[in-house]
Symmetry: C2
Subunit: 281 residues, 2 copies
């Protein structure tokens, strides 16, 4: 039995992957195994992976209520506006992971000025941060992204040595919502360029950084229409958990969204954020 | 009196520029002055530069017949298919300007393999060539293009030093059909990256390289429909002058285009290629 991936390549159906997906979505091992059974009974040769994902959502919703309130995280990331929202989202994410983060700015290199998406400091080290967003979450970041990062780092470091900027830099980190191509990973590793992509590094991928701190973006919510979301984003609210932290009445004043709508969203947000218990059960 | 450029900025109408354009299109100084007079009489405040170009073509066609057979060269370049036609066009252009040119290939750098559009040798020096095509001829090549070129050059040179390739490289040349942004030019000059763009370098721009050797692409011809052009390109014919060099009967066999059509195109091609006399008159 084969499945068809988004890039139209085929690979064998793998039940263990379904189990893993369910666990990441908040299912216990027992529930995950049940869902995987139900999915296996419904797949057919050549089925597309996004169809499988829909079946998982449908089945899992019976056991893990929060699944009914959100979409696939990877797709949610692809829906964030690249500028300024995704860049800001990444700065928040780094801050929550104990980086000291400065916002986007212009750095004078040896040859020219470069626009940098953020500067992040941790354990006495300073990194330039390049954020790369793809609205198609199947598009890997390619060699160009890392070659540009390399040239930026070189120019910024030489700018410091020449006294043109006062930022002693130890490295550069690329953060992107998709994979990096194999070629791009090889180049990055060879040149000491760090990266945080959807799946890698294994111990600290973008997905893990989001899930470990429950830093889900608003686009994660299933029942949030785009108009309401834009109002929240324009008012500076980017995260699901901010819907819970702030009083609906306050948030309503700040955004112009009705209190009733905000109460409903708060309910959905709570369901998503409280699912840790079901993961641990 | 102001004119509106393609990027929507305005600048004062400049009659001397009209004269220059006409001379480049094959007019004598005397004819160019006449045409500039006629254009000046018809412009109005805020007129778009592409409208001015149309008036020039119209007026100039009365004196320089070849103008009736071709379009604006810059637009013609934008219409060439980027891959493989524009890349091949640039390789021909470099060859005709005394470079020894090898076709596109993969070079093993220190970290990864890089796809190079050409390698060009002249006066004992070896250059990597990066070709950049924009289908909108008003889009300047930006900083990314030169930063990528820098990283490619560094990796290729270090690959040679590490014994991973056998190509002793002296530099890299970017060739593009548009301008380079100011930022990109500054970076290129600072890093010793060479470039040939539409207008620069002043003594050897892409335009001059084409005009000096009359290496007009087929897209330059006004009366050539796209289907016929595709047949020629697929058969390996890219240049206007190739229509004159080969017998219509031979070319017809090779392309499947009727001899009558080829004879008509040959006539147009001759008109364009013979206009040197009118420039010198």
């Amino acid at each position: 039995m084969y499945v068809t991936k988004a890039d139209r390549t085929r690979q064998p159906f793998n039940k263990a992957k379904i189990v893993g997906t369910c666990v990441r979505m908040g299912a216990s091992r027992r529930v995950a195994a049940k869902v995987a059974e139900a999915v296996e009974a419904r797949v057919y040769d050549g089925i597309e992976t996004n169809k499988i994902l829909r079946i998982i959502h449908q089945q899992l919703g019976k056991y893990v209520p929060s699944v009914r309130f959100h979409i696939d995280l990877r797709r949610a990331l692809s829906l964030i506006r690249p500028t300024p929202d995704f860049e800001r989202f990444i700065r928040i994410l780094l801050r929550e992971h104990d980086y000291e983060v400065s916002p986007n700015q212009i750095i004078r290199g040896k040859c020219v000025e470069h626009e940098i998406d953020a500067i992040a400091r941790k354990d006495g080290k300073t990194f330039l941060v390049e954020v790369k967003h793809h609205s198609n979450h199947h598009t890997p970041a390619g060699l160009d992204v890392v070659r540009i990062a390399r040239a930026v780092l070189e120019d910024a470091v030489e700018g410091f040595e020449a006294g043109l900027n006062s930022l002693k830099i130890d490295g550069i980190i690329i953060v992107c919502n998709t994979k990096l191509s194999k070629h791009a990973r090889e180049y990055a590793e060879c040149r000491g360029i760090l990266y945080i992509s959807w799946k890698l590094p294994l111990d600290n991928s973008l997905r893990m950084m989001i899930e470990n701190k429950k830093l889900y973006p608003l686009t994660f919510l299933k029942n949030l229409n785009m108009g309401t979301r834009r109002k929240l984003e324009l008012a500076g609210t980017l995260l699901v958990k901010e819907l819970v932290e702030e009083q609906p009445s306050e948030l309503s004043k700040r955004t112009g969204i009705s209190i009733d709508t905000l109460r409903q969203m708060r309910h959905d947000a709570r369901e998503i954020l409280s699912r840790e218990e079901s993961i641990l059960s």
